[in-house]
């Protein structure tokens, strides 16, 4: 069988190392598998054909779920993007499935005419179109690769296999990439805060950074209110209030208008900053709709801007006032 590359169902140390780099956001568009037909175990012409994207984590999630299974894996060229995102863009799409089926010579490798696609490929692939154009029937398998073996055994997906969830672990793996994305602006703001406001100002910036990148995803389902932004703003307030108390204690709070203005500034600034990071987290979630997010932007961005301006004015009053000797 020419054109079929044999692969394994286990990860090497090198694979695991690459997974760590991917989770850290290192060269995120360059973790690709060569598109084409692969095999695990010892597949026969009757063995199932499982389709996936050519992003390393997608391919590895599938193959490591296939221990003890004889199957073919058809890797589409999704430019290194995972199944769901590529389906949304259309690169994990009807045309690419048709092209891959033809390019791989799959018709001569298997005798059946069935392809098992991940369910999350469905936003890009019209099953009836693929059938019409290639003769291969598209069967949508489970959402998660870890359910594929059970799916093959049952011959169908259960209700639970068809649902997208967003458990703590799935949210937690996104933390390092989020930190990386906010790294440069945060560093700039941190340096400025340290120079202008000292250690307590720097601590406030670090707190905001950790709240938006780490606490927010971890606490997401437990934060009150419905919208991402209001959840973030709530978290910002919950973090800023104890900080203000601690900061006034540490700085030997003397009740002067300057210190008061600075503390109020931090309390007013933290909610819009963390709220904005929460709003930006919509794209990471597995359930936000475009219509819903659009409404949320129009509703909350004005609030964010007003609070940001108000908070910055309070900080400015405190800073300028202390320099000018007003207080």
């Amino acid at each position: 069988m020419t054109g079929v590359t044999s692969t394994t169902t286990t990860l090497t140390g090198r694979d695991k190392g690459e997974h760590v780099l991917i989770r850290l956001g290192y060269r995120r568009m360059f973790h690709r598998i060569k598109p084409g037909l692969y095999s695990v175990g010892n597949p026969s012409p009757e063995s199932p054909v499982l389709v996936t994207a050519n992003f390393t984590l997608s391919f590895d999630a599938l193959r490591t779920s296939l221990g003890g299974v004889d199957a073919y894996i058809l890797v589409l060229d999704t430019k290194g993007v995972n199944v769901w995102c590529a389906a949304g863009k259309g690169t994990f799409g009807t045309d690419e499935v048709v092209r891959s089926v033809e390019a791989s010579g799959l018709k001569d490798v298997v005798t059946h005419r069935k392809l098992v696609l991940p369910q999350l490929g469905a936003p890009g692939v019209a099953a009836h179109e693929v059938k019409k154009r290639t003769g291969f029937a598209v069967l949508f398998g489970p959402v998660r690769a870890s359910d594929v073996r059970e799916y093959l055994r049952l011959g169908k997906a259960t209700e639970e296999m068809r649902r997208v969830r967003f458990p703590t672990q799935d949210r937690a793996v996104l933390i390092p990439v989020e930190m990386k994305n906010y790294m440069w602006p945060s560093l700039a703001i941190a340096v400025a805060s340290l120079l202008l406001g000292g250690w307590l100002a720097l601590t406030a910036v670090v707190l905001a950074f950790l709240s938006g990148t780490t606490l927010f995803p971890l606490l997401l389902p437990h934060l009150p209110t419905k919208h991402f932004t209001s959840k973030g703003m709530t978290l910002g307030l919950l973090v800023s209030l104890p900080f203000a108390v601690l900061a006034s204690y540490l700085s030997g709070f003397n009740g002067s208008p300057g210190t008061l203005s600075a503390l109020a500034g931090v309390i007013v600034l933290m909610p819009p900053v963390v709220g904005y990071m929460g709003l930006n987290w919509t794209g990471c979630s597995t359930y936000s709709s475009r219509t819903g997010v659009k409404k949320e932007i129009f509703r909350f961005v004005p609030v964010i801007v007003v609070l940001l301006v108000a908070g910055l004015i309070m900080l400015a009053i405190s800073g300028v006032g202390q320099l000018a000797g007003w207080f």
């Binding site: 019209a126 169908k156 709709s289 475009r290 997010v293």
Partner: protein, 108 residues
């Protein structure tokens, strides 16, 4: 793992009802042949099998991924599909460019 044999019809898009005001999902039961494809592809259990046609079970949970509409062979479902990513939308609005999501020009 039976393959579905479905008659493909309906050249024009769905002329469905007014919708729910929460998202852009529209469903026209008169076109539905109860094939169940939408119940297979929907990640949030929006559809369920009914007596003669599919029924909407949790339409407010629709995230507008578009899988159901694309895979409905009779075009009984319509949805303005897109990605619910505020970062992409705001970036597009500020730069005056088209929305780019999840890939080379996003999340960097």
């Amino acid at each position: 793992m039976e393959s579905l044999e479905i008659p493909v019809m309906a050249p024009e898009p769905c002329a469905c009802g007014p919708g729910n005001g929460i998202n852009t999902l529209r469903f026209e039961p008169r076109r539905c042949i109860n094939c169940g494809r939408c119940t297979e592809v929907c990640p949030h259990g929006v559809f369920r099998r009914g007596e003669k046609t599919i029924e909407l079970a949790n339409e407010n949970d629709c995230m507008e991924c578009g899988a159901c509409a694309l895979n409905c062979p009779t075009r009984a479902i319509a949805v303005e599909s897109g990605v619910g990513c505020a970062a992409a939308m705001m970036k597009a609005a500020i730069l005056g460019k088209d929305e780019v999501v999840c890939g080379e020009d996003c999340c960097e």
